[in-house]
Amino acid sequence: MSTRELTFAQAIREALDEELARDERIVLFGEDIGAWGGVFRTTEGLYEKYGPDRVIDTPLSEEGYVGMAVGIAMTGMHPVPEIMFGDFITLAMDQIVNQAAKMRYMTGGQVAVPITIRATMGGGRSSGAQHSQSWHAWFAHVPGLKVVVPSTPYDAKGLLKTALRDPNPVVFFEDKVMYHKIKGPVPEEEYLIPFGVADIKREGKDVTIIALSRMVHTALAAAERLAQEGISAEVVDPRTLTPLDEETLVQSVCKTGGAVIVDEGYTRFGITAELAAVIAKGAFDYLDAPIERVGAFDVPIPFSPPLEFATIPDEERIVQAVYRILEGRRPQ
């Protein structure tokens, strides 16, 4: 297998490109995704290659074009609406939650609704409170949806290709800060990554750090720092939230006896809560200290950099959480 280094954005683009070529039922929709190539360049060149009938610029009408995508999916195509900033997904909630997620069930299995909704997430760009949010927890709470939160170019490509072949609505969250900053190896050969399979991004034995999307990189940096101090942290990336690979998460914590859960979404009633609850139960007899949750501060994301950076989980907060676990560890 030959590999190259691709950025996160390039990996996304390549997945779209390959699947557009493979399956002509796939159609992309979004604001300025066509001639302009997408504000984050994830659709660059696709308009030229597949034409205005496959890569479609929409009016500024999120509810409208996501709603249309539901009908397009129900009539045999596979639409891929893009939500430029995940913050705007609020406008399309009804169509995603009450329409896309339920149509199969409400019809007693008569239809499939293959939609891949691509949405961004993540702060740290000084974009203010309405362009920095991460709402993946909402969708993980909705039956009928699948939720994907890739952390590397490799995962992004493999998981997006899987989404584009899935007969169900998938909400695919891309951390916009990773688009051009995160590079990684991606094989030339085609590959798919199944949903529901967590990935151990770093092996370790003293503590488990569970992290997703961009926070995986922050967790890996924290693990590196901890390694210098002789602490061996395992970093586990669930990769998809629905389905969730509970087994791998629980097993890792059973092995290490401690868990720090890291997510860029808000802490309260967020991703870290579910993962903590699952692990607290699954690894009940193995936990040596309370699970630590590291999420965004529960405040609208502020613009000013010193404030914004304080709200988003960083290496330091993860390291401190690990310290708390190791201190709290009961004598064995």
């Binding site: 409208g64 074009y65 249309m68």
Partner: protein, 326 residues
């Protein structure tokens, strides 16, 4: 004998319209009875009185054309070819229902007939209808998509957003607004600025037509023209049909508190089925005996559907986890 009127449409077409309208009427009356007797769970939203609109529109459609329906959807489904037996079973939550009891009264669908679901979110189906029109255009086979919705739904932003896109992309989409005068318990004029949806549609750049929604022939003729136009690739249109529901907003509402007796009597004079019956008689297409026989036949069928649905089993509890994902 008096002079006979000339039929405005093919006799077979008129007969089929009559049959479907009757089926809707008897179905709705049966559902009311089923509710009254406690044979169904929940509530039901009936459309008796409004039969001419779904039937007039759907008779202008091909089998492969699609429709989206609403909370008041039984009429749309029958008009598009839905069968009363699995409908009645669905109303009662039985596993023999169209949706295996999972959808219920408000969500009956037969996708194989092009019925892309009914919607409990008022206006919520407009996106689906526009999406189906997108696929239809892509397929290039002249298929069209119809969105049924009410005067209340017409004030939802989704109409505006999809109308803009449908006109821009020349989608074969017919918006059929059934103006039954009320949005739940409030008159549409208290909730609708300006002259209504037909005028708004024109401002969006598509035809906006209004018809007597209780005249099945008028509805059919207007729909046909807009449907043919859409098939030719000339884009979407809006058809507003003025009508009334005889019953309340749902089976628990007598419908009398916010509407006057006089108002309802005026509407009863314009009953779509009686008008159609008169037409069939006056044109000699059906004899009084044939009318009587048709009524009996359809009535019996609906009653049998009720009896059968009552016997049918509820879905087994294991099914609760089925059909969440494909």
């Amino acid at each position: 004998m008096t002079e006979r009127r000339t039929p405005p449409l093919e006799p077979s077409l008129l007969i089929e319209m009559y049959r479907r309208m009757l089926t809707i009427r008897f179905f709705e009356e049966a559902v009311f009875e089923v509710y009254r007797r406690g044979w169904m769970p929940g509530l039901a939203h009936l459309s008796d009185g409004q039969e001419a609109t779904p039937v007039g529109v759907c008779m202008a459609l091909r089998p492969d054309d699609t429709i989206t329906s609403t909370h008041r959807g039984h009429g749309h489904i029958i008009a598009k070819g839905g069968q009363v037996e699995p409908m009645m079973a669905e109303v009662m939550g039985k596993v023999t229902g169209y949706c295996r009891g999972k959808g219920g009264e408000m969500h009956i669908a037969d996708v194989s007939l092009g019925i892309l679901g009914a919607n409990g979110i008022v206006g919520g189906g407009l996106g689906i209808a526009a999406g189906s029109a997108f696929t239809a255009k892509r397929e290039g086979k002249g298929r069209v998509s119809v969105a049924f919705f009410g005067d209340g739904a017409a004030n939802q932003g989704l109409w505006y957003e999809t109308a803009n896109i449908a006109v821009l992309w020349k989608l074969p989409l017919i918006y059929v607004c059934e103006n039954n005068q009320y949005t739940e318990f409030t008159h549409w004029k208290k909730l609708t600025a300006g002259e209504g949806l037909a005028v708004r549609a024109r401002a969006m750049g598509m035809p906006g037509i209004e018809v007597d929604g209780n005249d099945v022939v008028a509805v059919y003729q207007a729909a046909r023209e807009l449907v043919e136009r859409a098939r030719r690739g000339e884009g979407p249109a809006t058809l507003v049909c003025h009508t009334i529901r005889y019953g309340g907003h749902h089976v628990g509402d007598p419908g009398t508190a916010y509407r006057t007796k006089e108002e309802m009597e005026e509407w009863r004079k314009k009953d779509p089925i009686e008008r159609c019956e008169r037409l069939l008689l006056e044109t000699g297409i059906l004899s009084p005996q044939a009318i009587e026989a048709t009524r009996n036949e359809i009535y019996e069928r609906v009653q049998k559907a009720v009896e059968q649905a009552r016997q049918d089993p509820f879905p087994p509890v294991e099914e609760v986890y089925e059909h969440v994902y494909a």
